[in-house]
């Protein structure tokens, strides 16, 4: 570091801390220039030499801050160095992973491993859905008016227990009186609706798992009632096809989101040896990955629902596509990212 040019002829000797500053000021200003560049254009814009220089100037500034705290009482200097170091710290310790590497690692290792680690929570999610569906079906059998309690009017879209079998059939296959547009908008509605349900299910889990469970359970209720309504008109098989093509993916996604929420809730309920806050933090890692997975599956489900269900009109192929997707998900989650055992 070259000493700065002497200050304009002071008649007295500069005091020790002023000399300290004069010797290092050029380095700080240079650091400031580099920081400005890195903040504006990203660290990738720095050349090799500049990156090296930045790292070394950052350490020098940190060192100067440490010394200045011991020898200088110039508050302006201390504040400046503090802020300069903080700013440099934020540039030097920025996330360095590339977006692509990040996503690759997440897909190959992160998500499948997280799923395999959180089997108990997944069980809770699946249980909520199945219990809800069974209860919905049974209640519908007992009294058809339960249907109106479970299913919001907008979602039912005319498909109520009072509708004729022919109308119900037409909603499952195109070309009948049920117009295409209505179904299309219903599909998108369901998509955004279910996405929000999934996110909610997850985020609410932090309040002791219960809201997640209740929401998933409620989703199961709607599903069960729907199923039983179609089944009572002899359309169970066709509905299975209509639902399967996207539903295998979509319902699994909601269960997974519920499992993510359950992870958070379990951390609060049963923190084990850690404090609750620490437990929340450590189990949050898996929970977040489960949620990303759920989001991914929901997007897939939306594509299936939006396009393939309208294109594919036979129940057999619908079943094959739906459960085929399910098998693919299962294979990915069960097999990917396993550590090679020696």
């Amino acid at each position: 570091m070259t000493p700065a040019a002497p200050a304009p002829a002071p008649a007295v000797d500069p005091i020790r801390s002023a000399r300290f500053r004069a010797e290092r000021e050029a380095g700080w200003l240079r650091l400031d220039v580099l920081l400005r560049k890195a903040e504006r254009d990203g660290t990738a814009a720095l050349g090799y030499d500049e990156a090296l220089e930045l790292a070394s100037l950052y350490r020098q500034a940190m060192n100067a801050l440490s010394v200045a705290r011991a020898i200088s009482m110039d508050k302006a200097l201390l504040t400046y160095l503090d802020a300069l170091c903080a700013r440099a710290y934020l540039v030097v310790y920025a996330p360095q992973e590339s977006l692509r590497g990040l996503i690759g690692r997440l897909l190959v290792q992160g998500i499948p491993q997280a799923v395999r680690r959180s089997l108990p929570a997944l069980l809770i999610g699946a249980l909520a859905m199945v219990l809800g569906a069974v209860l919905g079906a049974v209640l519908f059998d007992v009294d058809h008016s339960w249907f109106y309690t479970f299913v919001p009017g907008g979602l039912a879209d005319g498909r109520t227990p009072d509708a004729s079998a022919a109308y119900l059939r037409s909603t499952l296959f195109d070309g009948g009186p049920g117009d295409h547009d209505g179904l299309g908008s219903f599909a998108t509605f369901l998509f955004s609706h279910n996405t929000q349900i999934a996110i909610l299910t997850f985020a609410l889990g932090v309040f002791l798992t219960l809201p997640s469970f209740v929401l998933t359970f409620y989703n199961g209720l709607v599903l069960g009632a729907f199923w039983q309504m179609f089944a009572s008109k002899g359309l169970g098989y066709e509905l299975a096809g209509w639902l399967s093509i996207h539903g295998v993916t979509e319902i699994a996604a909601i269960c997974i989101a519920c499992a993510g929420g359950a992870q958070l809730g379990l951390a609060v309920l049963l923190p084990g040896d850690e404090t609750r806050r620490d437990a929340l933090r450590s189990r949050g890692r898996d929970a977040v990955k489960l949620m990303i997975l759920a989001g991914l599956m929901l997007v897939c489900a939306a594509v299936l629902e939006g396009f393939f269900r309208q294109i594919v009109q036979t129940t057999e192929i619908r079943l094959a596509v739906g459960w085929g997707m399910g098998a693919l998900w299962f294979a990915w989650l069960a097999l990917a990212g396993r550590e090679a055992r020696a």
Binding site: L65, Y80, D82, A203, R281
Partner: protein, 297 residues
């Protein structure tokens, strides 16, 4: 992480300062963002995202690119990507700053002094859904709710909104899950060294003059000297300060008004040199009561 009260700072100034220890182990200071700034950034983000969606929709309608049905699908997709993914991607790419945060000048940092991990960013923004968007959505849908559900929801909403008010580091639930906090962007401003401005002005202070004050008074004087007086009232205040100091340190020379500023500059320089060298010898003088407390060094 402790809130950080640097010595010699009055309590009101030290509030909201945080000591953050990076891997170099030299503590640096961040200032916690105010709740107002965070609220402003959030509002800006919502305006930007939803405004962008709205503009895109209007543009597409105008261009006639989609049927009505297609527009609805497109809107659903856009709002999906404009919510959580927008916040995650922008905080990933700009290291803890969304567009709104950039404008307001605040950012997210990790509590542990290390770099922000992608996990932390994802976690805190997923929780944003329940803390920000859900209350907003229920607010708009509130008219269709019955009173019990509405009451329960608003109680819960208020509770979530109050979490950052009462948590020590103004953390919201998402910050707690992720181990992050929101601080002001540091803005370094290098001011000139006052001691270098003082050319010999003919004042010579002896040890008994310089033994009176401590670090706190010195830095208060520094703050005064950083703003040369412009109005007559300010000049009067400076003159009061100069005369008070002269009396307190029993400086026996007369001090005409024209020379008060020079006197203060010169006193600052010599006092600082004196205190700094005392400090090096282990005699830390925090303020003018150092003699009464027996000196802390």
């Amino acid at each position: 992480m402790k809130t950080y009260a640097p010595t010699g700072l009055p309590a009101w100034e030290a509030r909201g300062l945080l000591r953050h220890t990076p891997p170099e182990s030299v503590p640096i200071t961040f200032r916690l963002s105010t709740l107002g700034a965070r609220f402003g950034a959030q509002t800006l983000d919502i305006l930007i995202t939803y405004g962008g969606v709205l503009l895109a929709i209007i543009g597409l309608t105008w261009a006639g690119a989609f049927s009505w049905n297609g527009l609805i699908t497109f809107y659903a997709l856009l709002t999906f990507f404009m919510r959580v993914p927008y916040y995650i991607l922008s905080e990933l790419v700009w290291n803890g700053r969304t567009l709104g945060k950039r404008m307001v000048g605040i950012r997210v940092i990790s509590l542990d002094g290390r770099r922000l991990t992608p996990h932390q960013i994802v976690a805190r923004n997923l929780m944003k859904e329940v803390e920000v968007f859900l209350p907003l959505a229920t607010l708009f849908g509130a008219s269709t709710m019955d009173i019990w559900l509405g009451g329960a929801l608003s109680a819960w909403m208020i509770a979530t909104l109050l979490v950052p008010v009462f948590s020590k580091l103004n953390q919201r639930l998402g910050d707690m899950v992720a181990g992050t906090m929101v601080v002001d962007n540091p803005r370094p401003v290098l001011l000139p060294d006052l001691s270098a401005q003082a050319a010999a002005r003919g004042y010579e202070f002896r040890a008994e003059h310089l033994d009176i004050y401590g670090r706190y008074e010195l830095q208060t004087l520094e703050a005064i000297l950083r703003e040369p007086p412009k109005s007559p009232e300010a000049r009067k205040r400076v003159s009061e300060v100069a005369q008070t100091i002269r009396k307190r340190i029993s400086y026996d020379e007369d001090l005409p008004e024209s020379r008060e500023w020079d006197f203060l500059l010169e006193f600052y320089r010599q006092q600082r040199e004196y205190l700094e060298s005392r400090h090096l010898f282990g005699d830390a003088r925090e303020n003018k009561f150092h003699a009464a407390t027996g000196g802390q060094g």
